[in-house]
């Protein structure tokens, strides 16, 4: 219980600090980057569910993000639905689609699964690009609306205009909720079953666990989170085209989870920020970025297969021990 409270309070502090950021940081571009990172947290937490917990590498996350983005955009732009509504419907819709996609593909293991999800992503991308009468194709859809304003406790949250603070708080809320959802799953019976599938799927099968059902659950929740991230993204940027939803972005999601720490809760958070901020600082040579990412990935997999967060965690433990803050 104590451990739970310590962890929880750690997260709460983090969220409060994050909420205060817009008051402290005055450069709008920096806020823009953090909003993107928060959206990426939603995506990465989803990726973590299927990759970190279940151990199945899915290369379709960006494709699902695209489905959520276009679903929400098309309903709001073409039919005038409220963004608040479509933002919840998008993950549900994406989750549903993923069940259809997941059912056949989760029956095959390891490499086959990864390759099939890659195929899904490419199909989704190609359709988004080619079915231009619906999606606007390469040229995309402009003027994607922001959520309408609302008042709460005397404050009016206005999402239009140059200041992005309201949207920042929305993204923060979603990132927190996603992390919370994954925490719930991780610490529940479902989470334990998922981990057991990662450890040894045959054994789990043998003792009677319906692995397909649990894998499907993890896959659809992960896709739903991707769909939510997509809707958040589309309504934030205000312009939507297929480019952000290609295979490259799915690879980024995988990288984020691995860098941060596969299977942990804080891992995707760290990974999401790394993915968003590294390109900014490595911008001097965009071409070096790919090589560096790839190199880090290879090194991390060989030497740090459990990601950065466990490394930080053990460093912290050692520090705490040295400072006499730990018992035993």
């Amino acid at each position: 219980m104590k451990k739970f409270l310590t962890h929880l309070s750690g997260w709460v502090v983090l969220i409060l600090v994050a909420a205060a950021m817009p008051a402290l940081i005055k450069v709008p571009y920096f806020i823009h980057l953090i909003i993107l990172a928060l959206i990426w947290i939603v995506l990465a937490q989803g990726q973590n569910l299927i990759q970190g917990l279940v151990g199945y590498v899915s290369i379709a996350q960006a494709g699902f993000m695209g489905i959520g983005a276009y679903f929400s955009t098309l309903l709001t732009v073409n039919f005038g639905w409220s963004v608040w509504m479509t933002m919840w419907l998008a993950p549900l819709f994406t989750g549903l689609i993923s069940v259809l996609a997941g059912y056949p593909s989760l029956r095959v293991k390891g490499h086959y699964f990864a390759i099939v999800t890659l195929a899904y992503n490419m199909v989704i991308f190609t359709v988004l690009l080619t079915y231009s009468s619906l999606t606007g194709g390469e040229a995309g859809i402009s003027n994607v609306p922001r959520p309408s304003e609302f008042s709460l406790l005397g404050y009016t949250f206005n999402f239009e205009g140059r200041s992005n603070i309201s949207y920042y708080l929305l993204a923060l809320l979603m990132a927190a909720l996603s992390t919370g959802l994954c925490a719930l799953i991780l610490h529940s019976r479902v989470g334990r079953i998922l981990l057991s599938i990662r450890q040894n799927e045959n054994l789990s099968d043998a003792i009677g666990v319906s692995t397909l059902r649990y894998k499907l659950l993890a896959f659809s929740v992960s896709a739903a989170l991707a769909g939510l991230a997509g809707a958040l993204y589309a309504h934030y940027i205000g312009f939507l085209n297929p480019e952000p939803f290609g295979v490259d972005q799915s690879l980024n999601a995988i990288l984020a989870v691995i860098l941060g720490g596969s299977g942990t809760l804080a891992g995707p958070v760290v990974g999401a920020f790394a993915i968003t901020f590294l390109p900014e600082y490595l911008r001097i040579a965009d071409s070096y970025r790919l090589v560096t990412y790839g190199f880090i990935l290879v090194l991390a997999t060989i030497f740090l297969p459990r990601g950065l967060v466990p490394v930080f965690h053990s460093l912290w433990l050692r520090l705490a021990g040295a400072l006499g803050l730990r018992r035993g």
């Binding site: 390891g110 490499h111 190609t126 990412y293 790839g294």
Partner: protein, 285 residues
């Protein structure tokens, strides 16, 4: 009628390139169990290298390609030794992630060394042959022939040489092969060397036929896996049959249905095969 034949013939050249890519993937997968996704980027590297040998050093096309294939083999050896061997005994997912990381690295290195522009390898083979209304360019014919020759060479290597026997032994049963004194490390190196050579050849041929550019490698690798799944993971005849089928069906689909959705064919095929016959057309259950 002519139109159908023409589309089919068009597809054969691309299909031959797919065969080479798939062969490179299938030997690695069948013998070492690794989904070597970086193969596409290695192929691109080979294409760029062939272009450089041709433009910078004035080598004729096939000589440039042969030289690049040797370089490719070396790259393959390095990849095996430095990237995949450390995770040989780790969970399979690690090898796949290494493959993804390698893809990024090699794509990045290609970008750094050769730039981001598309590269078209010029060849002197510009004649055009008209066979009863079906027109085939000399270059396309040469691509098909080259693929046949390379496949033949590999087949001979596998069946006639001692190294080839060791490779087949490891493919059949690794434990037994080790017990019989086969040097598994050596076999791994040989397999990657062959695979990368074939990949480089494919890259050179695509560079002459169409172009090499960032992003083409990934597409080739995915199509390669589609062929693998169609033909059967680990099956060499499967890679050959699958590659040609994919090439021709893409051309037919582009010609008679819609060129926009041409690439989707490969993926749909993959998904359908995995659902109903996961071992592929010629694979073993």
């Amino acid at each position: 009628m002519i139109e159908i034949l023409q589309q089919g013939v068009n597809g054969l050249a691309i299909g031959s390139v797919y065969v080479l890519i798939a062969l490179g993937l299938t030997v690695v997968f069948g013998i070492l169990g690794i989904a070597h996704f970086a193969h596409g980027s290695v192929a691109m590297f080979g294409g760029y290298l062939t272009f450089t040998f041709g433009e910078r050093f004035g080598l004729p096309f096939f000589a440039a390609m042969a030289l690049a294939m040797v370089a490719g083999a070396v790259v393959g050896l390095l990849i095996e030794r430095l990237a995949y061997r450390p995770v040989r005994d780790a969970p399979h997912i690690n090898a796949f992630i290494i493959a993804l990381g390698l893809t990024m690295m090699i794509e990045g290195l290609n970008l750094l060394t050769f730039g981001a522009d598309q590269v078209v390898i010029q060849t002197p083979y510009r004649s055009v042959f008209n066979v009863g209304g079906v027109v085939i360019a000399e270059l396309r014919l040469l691509v098909i022939l080259t693929a046949c020759v390379l496949v033949g060479v590999i087949a001979l290597l596998m069946s006639r040489t001692k190294t080839g026997k060791s490779v087949r032994a490891v493919a059949q049963n690794r434990q037994a092969a080790v017990l019989m004194g086969v040097n598994v490390n050596q076999v791994s190196l040989v397999v990657f060397g062959i695979s990368s050579s074939l990949g480089v050849a494919a890259g050179a041929l695509i560079g002459a036929l169409l172009a090499i550019a960032p992003g083409v490698g990934e597409g080739l690798a995915i199509k390669g896996f589609a062929v693998l799944i169609l033909g059967g993971l680990g099956s060499i005849p499967g890679a050959i049959v699958g590659g040609l089928i994919l090439g021709v069906s893409e051309a037919m689909a582009a010609g008679f249905i819609s060129s926009a959705y041409k690439d989707v064919i490969a993926f749909l095929v993959m998904i359908v095969v995995l659902l109903f016959r996961p071992e592929g057309l010629l694979g073993k259950r």
